[in-house]
Subunit: 323 residues, 2 copies
Amino acid sequence: MESHLKSLLQPLGRTELCDSVIPALLDCISEIAKSLRESQHVSLAGTTNAFGDGQLNVDMAAENLVREALAKCPSIVTASSEEEPVERAAGDGQAVNPTSEKYTVAFDPLDGSSIIAPNWTVGTILGIWDGASAINQQPSEKQIASVLGVYGPRTTAIIALRVPGGEPQCLEIGIGGSGQEHQIIRSNVRLADPPFKTRYFAPANLRVAGQSENYMRLIMHFIEKSYTLRYCGGLVPDIVHALVKGHGVYVSPVTVASPAKLRRLYELFPIALIMECAGGKAIDPATGEDILNRPLEDCDETAGLVCGTAEEVEIVKKVLLGA
Amino acid sequence: MESHLKSLLQPLGRTELCDSVIPALLDCISEIAKSLRESQHVSLAGTTNAFGDGQLNVDMAAENLVREALAKCPSIVTASSEEEPVERAAGDGQAVNPTSEKYTVAFDPLDGSSIIAPNWTVGTILGIWDGASAINQQPSEKQIASVLGVYGPRTTAIIALRVPGGEPQCLEIGIGGSGQEHQIIRSNVRLADPPFKTRYFAPANLRVAGQSENYMRLIMHFIEKSYTLRYCGGLVPDIVHALVKGHGVYVSPVTVASPAKLRRLYELFPIALIMECAGGKAIDPATGEDILNRPLEDCDETAGLVCGTAEEVEIVKKVLLGA
């Protein structure tokens, strides 16, 4: 795997990204997987009414593991996370060997709290930006890579790369255990072109269809056209399903009664980059605009999401926007 | 965990069940988890059009691990599996110490083939029957235990016990790694009583709603009443979600255009026992009858399934049967 990354990134002058940043993040995903595997009693929290301490502890353990990984990489100068949505220095500010590459990492350490207790697949979301901040930058140019960690029966990762001067890349990685090598499962993750053998849909926040005529029309379209339903309610596994199957559309609409909940910086931007690098699309259902078109003004911003196979995203856009 | 099982089963004269059968099955679940964790390239099969060799290899590895575990238990005299649906001797027929307890085990070694490639949670289903066969026996009396193995970020198991003379039991177990102890996560898994804080639904085969007026009415009921959708398409994780959250209803209807696919012996009976032991219900959507009421005539029989919270199963029954 390392030689493959080197062949992609070294010609683009991204030595730190391929020798330090991405390996540190993949090792960190391996560590989070181990921590989850050993946290049997954490699931108890999910069985109580409120979010209990145990569940918060799993999130915090993942947060700490990512922060430790970032601090090891001199080229990562800034970090912020969904658990603490403020940009601050990633290391101790005393890097011995300042590098010519400078990155900002924005991450959601453990996405899918609601499905941790029943032992469903959950994930980590990481976005890597050129420069010392993600704020007021053009996401489509400055977010140059993103990584998803997928914790299921196996531990896997998706890496998307869109480094200036290079072709967009999307890879699936098999994460090894402690001290083991990571391996490439697929070096070119691509959503399929039509005609589609099986069409999948993942309708988030389905109860909104009770108040939204357009969302209900969309659901009826999926049922009448015999789409296959797969919706686990975890953003990472729902997105990875589409990438691995080669088809899928994820729909999280926003209405007055149901405000946007997905964080632009920690969830939408990294997912959108992966979808685009895999040949798909990711748009804001409120405007139809590409998720990666509009810069961030504040780490806390939220929006809806429609993403996946480009042809399906176009259909959803037309129905939801009533166009 | 072992002392808890002993306290439940020894007074009922089930020494082999608690000292040999259940420990062997839990260790086997730990082995299957390890095998899945190390099978990174198996996922490739799911990405091809046909069911490839890799995927079949994972199923077969799990099948072999279960067969090996059963052969170690002198009290297990008969076994059959979804991969080979014929009852045959579980061991070599040469048990040195024949025991007074005699069991038949029916199992699905790895349920959820379609979601193995995207690294979603999958499971193992095992039913334990009193006597030398499951055929032409009353399931509600003769299937005395069932076990689900759940392979996600962690490895867990659900055990249901309904041994004559004892109270029904449902436990959640955290499965340890090789040589590690298994531990009780919850000693009393129970579906909640109304009022329900959050109501969950898992609609299998949703495309059938396009041809079935009753199924469509049911889906509309769920949406209008603001139920939360969780449907991953793996029977084990979908059932375990309801058990861990304390609420849920799983609906897999059968129509002329969409024949029954769930195996009565390998899927429906073990799931139904778990649901009943957790205070829920499991019925055949074609008749409204309890799944465990009707004996099996052939290992291959299939049916639909509605199961989960008793109040919800009653609502679904009325809508689907148009009563």
